[in-house]
């Protein structure tokens, strides 16, 4: 079918812009030679991808999970334990963690999807806390609060590298992959079904949409990617303990990034990570000793300001203000 009218702002050259940005992101790590900034990039990619995973369930389907730390932790612990106990490569462990997390996600979904909004959030919050308590108390398996240290012997097959650069590129790949997946969901029927459910559950049901099933698909994708990011974290930081990969704060933070950046949008979670991660790192580097925890206060202030002045998030606001960004 040929369009009757050209959509306003239809400029074909705009299609090139995203590719230029991707190219710039690919070249950027080669220009930056400073480990501190490379670390920042890795964390932006890590959190951006993780927030994107959270957004698949919470943004598109509107099911606000506050238990996503558990999936992250499951990913980190699964690959690490498989490596420490059986010498299994974390590349395979990453998949195993993803599959394990999505199985748990599926079970959680079957049980909790009958709950709505706040009640679902509370149930998942409890689920996240259960994950934390398990990680602390199953000492023989997880090492409890003392955590697990990963071996440091650079080997690409074992997902372990001497410098930061390989991690930057793996992070960048995961970051772009999650954006691509989000884009694909948003522009596919799965995305329409999820949005329909979020906007009007009864109307969607009356049309025959199996709202439980489509949300389970979102849950499986979301928990799988969260676990993959957990493995990435473990391999990069080479040390995990319950409070670094299973804490409630992680769930809250991932939600915060996505909400401030623009919940339910393709790029919102990435934008959120780009804003918050550098702030946290700079504040910790500059005032980590004199005023520890200051970044949490700044987070709070940003959250309040964003919710007051741009409740849809920063991403959608930018799009509205800068005509150039409006989709071609």
């Amino acid at each position: 079918m040929k369009p009757l009218i050209d959509r306003p702002g239809s400029r074909p050259w705009l299609k090139v812009v995203p590719w230029i940005v991707v190219l710039a992101l690919c070249v950027l790590p080669l220009i930056i030679r400073n480990d501190f900034y490379l670390d920042a990039l890795i964390l932006i990619f890590l959190w951006g991808a993780y927030a994107g995973a959270w957004n698949i369930l919470a943004g598109y389907a509107g099911m606000m999970s506050l238990g996503h730390s558990a999936f992250f932790g499951i990913g980190a612990y699964t690959s690490t334990l498989l490596l420490l106990r059986f010498g299994l490569s974390p590349w395979i462990g990453m998949l195993a963690g993803g599959l394990f997390a999505s199985t748990i996600g599926l079970i959680l979904g079957v049980i909790c999807f009958r709950l709505r909004s706040h009640y679902f959030a509370l149930a998942t919050l409890a689920f996240g806390e259960v994950g934390y308590i398990c990680a602390v108390n199953f000492r023989s398996l997880t090492g409890g609060s003392e955590g697990l240290a990963l071996p440091i012997r650079p080997d690409a097959l074992l997902f372990s590298f001497a410098g930061k650069l390989p991690y930057v590129y793996i992070g960048l790949f995961l970051f772009l992959a999650v954006i691509a997946i989000s884009y694909a969901i948003e522009h596919s029927r799965l995305g329409y079904y999820l949005t329909a459910f979020r906007e009007n559950e009864n109307a969607a049901r009356a049309l025959g949409v199996r709202t439980g099933r489509v949300r389970l698909i979102a849950m499986v994708l979301s928990s799988f990617i969260s676990a993959v990011m957990g493995t990435f974290y473990a391999q990069y930081v080479v040390f995990i303990d319950p409070s670094s990969v299973m804490r409630i704060q992680i769930s809250v933070q991932v939600a915060l990034f996505a909400i401030v950046g623009g919940i339910g949008t393709t790029l919102g979670p990435a934008i959120g990570a780009m804003i918050f991660v550098p702030i946290a790192m700079l504040l910790r580097a500059e005032m980590g000793t004199s005023l520890p925890g200051l970044h949490m206060i700044i987070y709070g202030v940003i959250l309040v300001l964003v919710l007051l002045y741009m409740p849809q998030g920063i991403g959608p606001k930018l799009k509205e203000k800068i005509p150039f960004l409006r989709s071609p």
Binding site: L4, A196, N200, A206, L207, G208, R210
Partner: protein
Amino acid sequence: MLKVSGLNVSYGDVQVLFDVSLEIRVGEFISIVGANAAGKSTLLRAISGLLKKTSGSIEFQGKQLVGRPPYAVVEAGIVHIPEGRHVFPLLSVRENLEVGAYTRRKSRKDLRRSLEELYGLFPQLYHHRDQLAGSLSGGEQQMLAIARGLMSRPTLLTVDEPSLGLAPMLVEKTFQILEHINKENVTVLLSEQNVFNALSMSDRAYVIENGRIVLTGAGKELLTDEHLKKAYLGM
């Protein structure tokens, strides 16, 4: 085609439908008329499987629908157009229509054909197909809601108060569309407060009061019924 018998429906502890029975034959245009809160919407929602506390029998082409989830009802061939339109405002017109085709999602070709047919029936929707549904006018949203329901190719369309909140001219147009759909071999079950219009269009009608069917008959006959004239037509 559809046979409802002894239907009781409650919201929590409050019973709203009492022993409702009705029968619809293939190709008919049936209206359910009655005042606000008489139970019209509840009846349609119960048929579509949206309500939980339902007892009695709803038989559609030999299949028992009581206790079945909404998607099973849609798969059986009944689609419900809810009161107040309820389009998905942040999805485009085309995306709204695609959601309506959920039960037929397996075939892309089928989807394209349904889209083309409906764009033919609703040219404005074609014109606005990439626009967000929330930006349409009330009349256009009502058309979209009807078109979206038709995407699943139902054999029975249940429409709840399509005239609600529409200008008289648009009400007229909505009814014309429904008549047209009915001529295309879709059986229509319409719930309306606009008693005069509904009755003059219908083959048969049921009058519902306080959750009970109190009167039934051919649409045009009912227009002359003394009780009905007094209660609903102010004559």
